[in-house]
């Protein structure tokens, strides 16, 4: 039997300050990018027009650009989409005077006219055409924001019911960290923020919470089981015990998101990027944000353990032996050694 990280005994919590520093640095870069460049919103949110077309022959972007300028679409973006012959023209409402006063429908028609003139009728095929009015864009913006806030509220309530409020707060702070880190990532990568990407952010929220819950569930259990250990040790123990599961589950999830990223096409790619990053940050935050924050919350507002007996210590008690799980001690390095308790070596 292969066992990764079996009987691991790393002191994760010790590195919390380094972890805070690292994630803080990433977020600073991301927020700086956010402040200077802003987010690259799709026309779903800004209102505007998008036309995706396939050309029969390769045509330089400059020619297309010139044809669009001719039609008065000077503010529209033209970019390659996936392959050499596939292009997207995007004109946002209220952007750099993309279409002047013309409506979104007129812009789409103007793009077709520009193509007729530059590459000739029949030499192109319109694959996708979207025209979103300003009202719909504003509505979707509101909806996306509400969805994220609502998901926080609902999961916090659920966690408060299932766990103690301290756990719920720590989990929500860790998840908020993930949302900010993901936004920073989106901003650094300059990914287009569409409804699907908002969906990915919400899925990251769910996934990260899921991961935090697995660890907290173990903490809750270990608190009942090892009543003489302090919270610092129990957090470390719980993270170590759930480490094999984390490695396996993240492995399978990364495998599927990578498949989506590489193979599922251009439309899904931003979604797959956000999901891939979200899996990393979700895993990181469960260990390095949620657990230390829980420790900190316990220090500020000391609670009582499951049996109401005592407040938790926050540091390994001096003079006592470092805590080891009751299973036989094993090397701390990642191993695949058979456990000595198993009666026979596995096949």
């Amino acid at each position: 039997m292969i066992r990764l990280f079996a009987n691991a005994n790393y002191d994760f919590i010790k590195w919390r300050r380094w972890a805070f520093g690292l994630t803080g640095a990433i977020m600073l870069v991301g927020l700086a990018a956010l402040a200077t460049r802003g987010l690259n919103y799709s026309i779903e949110f800004t209102g505007g027009t998008l036309v995706q077309f396939e050309l029969a022959h390769k045509t330089p972007t400059a020619n297309l650009r010139a044809a669009l300028d001719n039609e008065g679409l000077t503010g529209a973006d033209v970019y390659n989409f996936g392959s050499d012959t596939s292009y997207v023209v995007r004109a946002r409402l209220g952007g750099a005077a993309a279409a002047g006063e013309a409506g979104t429908q007129e812009v789409a028609d103007a793009v077709a006219k520009a193509l007729d003139q530059s590459v000739g009728p029949g030499q192109y095929h319109i694959a996708r055409r979207e025209a979103v009015g300003p009202k719909v864009g504003r509505e979707l913006q509101g909806k996306a924001l509400m969805a994220i806030l609502l998901s926080f509220l609902v999961t916090m309530i659920y966690l408060a019911i299932r766990f103690e409020w301290r756990f719920g707060l720590a989990a929500v702070i860790a998840t908020a960290h993930d949302v900010v880190a993901t936004l920073a990532f989106i901003s650094i990568m300059h990914l287009e923020v569409s409804l699907i990407v908002v969906g990915a952010v919400l899925t990251v929220v769910g996934y990260s919470l899921n991961d935090t819950i697995i660890i907290f569930d173990r903490v809750r259990e270990n608190l009942k089981k090892y009543r003489r250990q302090n919270l610092y040790e129990i957090l470390n123990l719980s993270i170590n015990e759930t480490l094999p599961r984390s490695v396996l589950t993240h492995g399978t999830t990364i495998a599927t998101t990578m498949a989506l990223l590489v193979l599922a096409g251009e439309v899904i790619r931003p979604f797959a990027w956000v999901m891939s990053f979200g899996i990393f940050t979700g895993t990181f935050s469960s260990i390095y944000i949620a657990a230390p924050v829980l420790l900190w919350i316990e220090k500020r507002w000391p609670g009582q353990d499951a049996r109401g007996a005592r407040t938790f210590g926050t540091r390994a008690p001096a003079g006592t032996q470092p805590f080891a799980p009751p299973s036989p001690p094993a090397p701390a390095a990642p191993t695949s050694s058979p456990s000595p308790r198993t009666p026979q070596p596995a096949r």
Binding site: T155, G251, T252, A255
Partner: protein, 538 residues
């Protein structure tokens, strides 16, 4: 053993139900007939999973009442009536399984799958199709009011741009001379009257095509409207007409009261006139409408009658030679027959209560949709293979059981989509692929737990029992939290994103069943078959 049999029975029932839900079946669809172009019902045999527009191609439209030309008092009521009209039109239009539904209060969603001509579809949906018949200004009251209108414009500080009527005026006979005299009376050429040339029949005026926007803005002015004679309105011609070398647009002064409207219309058909080779739409009025029309036309024999569609006069108003009762026709000139049959279609379906404007349009070609399906399936296959390799490589026999459960998971999820009639979209497909990676999480939790119990020295049977039991808390909590975010996404999302949320929710339910009960049953059978087993291949 009885326990195992019960579990197997339960799983068997679920599997059979899922397969039944997915069996290709005959689905009734309305498709256009290849020969006549009319809609007919056909049955098609296919797997009953609805594909979203982004996968099969098509057009999605969100429409609202157009309030750019004045507010509409009750948009909810207008949209409800518009929905009925649009549904009737779409039903005849010729797409399979169209969606027409009201979203929120004042928005109408129309989805046409596989539609190849979005422009034509939009035209049919958006056309108000308000038909009315009005008698032209037989007494020339508008022409007589022109000096007063010119005076009103002069007071407002407007100046004529053309100093004298052009030579073309003479083309139009005596009446134009009279008009010129009118303008001469006022010492300076009138602002409006200098732009209008009297047409061939009473109430008809011609405006040079390039002056059309200017004149249109002039007649829309409030001071001009105030100076208009009572009971008379102005309507533009539908198309420009050329006289000599110049293009003109006709402007008609018509009675403000229509003698009849399209509400009384019961039949409309398009055809091409054999003699003139014109496209025409013939119509028939209801008995009540016919009676009214008969009375009115009897009173107006010798008068000219303008046929006005959506505020534009169609063709030159014909003279009423005798009483007309129930049948009539609209001439469309050299327009293609397709346009005539679309007009007949919208006239049959009735007029929209108010003009509609498109606030959101998504059109995706069928080829792009097919590419998306291909790419999505390829990513899915690769993802699944990777998951299988990881699971079997790490957990051996137990991993193989989990993989077997995974096939049931896929079956359950697809069956859930089919059974509840949800739509599979491109993000939904991505969500499905992603959920395969997440679905094994429950198994991973259980297997790790069993391993721990074994390490603690428990017997095989007890370790399996406790492993499932102790992993349950974590599985339920984590799945519920994911389901909650998916539910929110469904509640606030639209179209494709809802598809994503739905596959996620169904996937969570399916994974709870497959990863927990199915795998546990397999474990029980395994242990039952091999009572002598001392180590678990996990």
């Amino acid at each position: 053993m009885g326990k195992i049999r019960q579990r197997l029975l339960g799983i068997g029932i679920l599997v059979v139900l899922s397969i039944v839900a997915l069996i290709p079946r005959n689905v009734t669809m309305r498709v256009p007939d290849a020969v006549t172009g009319r809609m007919k019902d056909t049955t098609v045999r296919r797997v009953p999973i609805k594909l979203g527009l982004d996968l099969q191609g098509g057009i999605h439209l969100a429409l609202e009442v157009d309030e750019s030309k004045g507010p509409v008092p009750d948009c909810a009521d207008a949209i409800q009536r518009a929905e009925k009209v649009v549904r009737t039109r779409i039903d005849e239009f010729g797409t399979t399984e169209p969606v027409v539904q009201i979203q929120g209060r004042c928005r109408l969603i129309v989805e046409l799958a596989g539609e190849k001509d979005p422009a034509r579809a939009k035209g049919v949906i958006q056309r108000t199709a308000f038909l009315e018949f009005r008698i032209t200004d037989m007494k020339n009251t508008f022409r007589d009011a022109l000096p007063a209108i010119d005076a009103a414009l002069r007071r407002a500080g407007m100046k004529s741009r053309t100093t004298a009527p052009s030579a073309v005026t003479q083309l139009f006979g005596d009446t134009s001379k009279a008009q010129r005299e009118d303008t001469a009376d006022a010492n300076a050429p009138g602002v409006l009257s200098s732009l209008l040339f009297q047409g061939q029949l009473p109430g008809e005026f011609l405006v040079p095509e390039e002056q059309w926007p200017l004149v249109d803005s002039l007649v829309a002015r409030p001071d001009v409207r105030a100076a208009m004679p009572r009971g008379i309105e102005l309507r533009w011609g539908a198309a420009s007409e050329s006289r000599g070398a110049r293009a003109f647009r006709a402007l008609y002064a018509v009675d403000s009261r229509p003698i009849i409207t399209g509400e009384e219309l019961v039949k409309a058909n398009a055809r091409r006139d054999q003699v003139t080779n014109q496209s025409i739409v013939t119509f028939q009025l209801s008995r009540r409408g016919g009676r009214k029309f008969g009375q009115e036309t009897a009173r107006h024999v010798g008068d000219y009658m303008a046929i006005i569609l959506d505020g534009r006069v169609q063709g030159q108003p014909p003279v009423i030679r005798s009483q007309i009762s129930t049948n009539g026709q609209i001439e469309l000139g050299a327009k293609p027959l397709q346009e005539a049959s679309d007009l007949a279609l919208v006239l049959r379906a009735g007029a929209l209560p108010a003009p509609l404007t498109i606030v959101d349009e998504r059109a995706i070609s069928a080829t792009l949709g097919a590419d998306s399906i291909k790419d999505g399936i390829r990513a899915g296959v690769v993802g699944v293979v990777l998951v299988i390799v990881i699971m079997i490589g790490y957990y051996r026999m137990a991993g193989a059981l989990a993989v077997a459960a995974l096939t049931l998971y896929c079956l359950f999820t697809l069956a859930g989509l089919a059974a509840f009639g949800f739509t599979l979209t491109l993000p939904g497909l991505a969500g499905f692929v992603l959920s395969i990676g997440i679905a094994v999480d429950a198994n991973v939790l259980i297997f790790e737990r069993i391993r721990e119990e074994l390490v603690h020295g428990k017997s095989l049977r007890l370790a399996v029992e406790d492993g499932f039991l102790h992993a349950m808390n974590a599985i339920i909590d984590s799945n519920v939290s994911t389901a909650l975010t998916a539910l929110i996404l469904y509640a606030v999302g639209t179209g494709p994103v809802q598809g994503f949320a739905i596959t996620l929710i169904i996937g969570i339910a399916a994974s709870m069943i497959s990863a927990i009960s199915v795998v546990k049953t397999m474990f029980l059978i395994w242990l039952h078959r091999r009572p002598d087993m001392v180590t678990l291949s996990i």
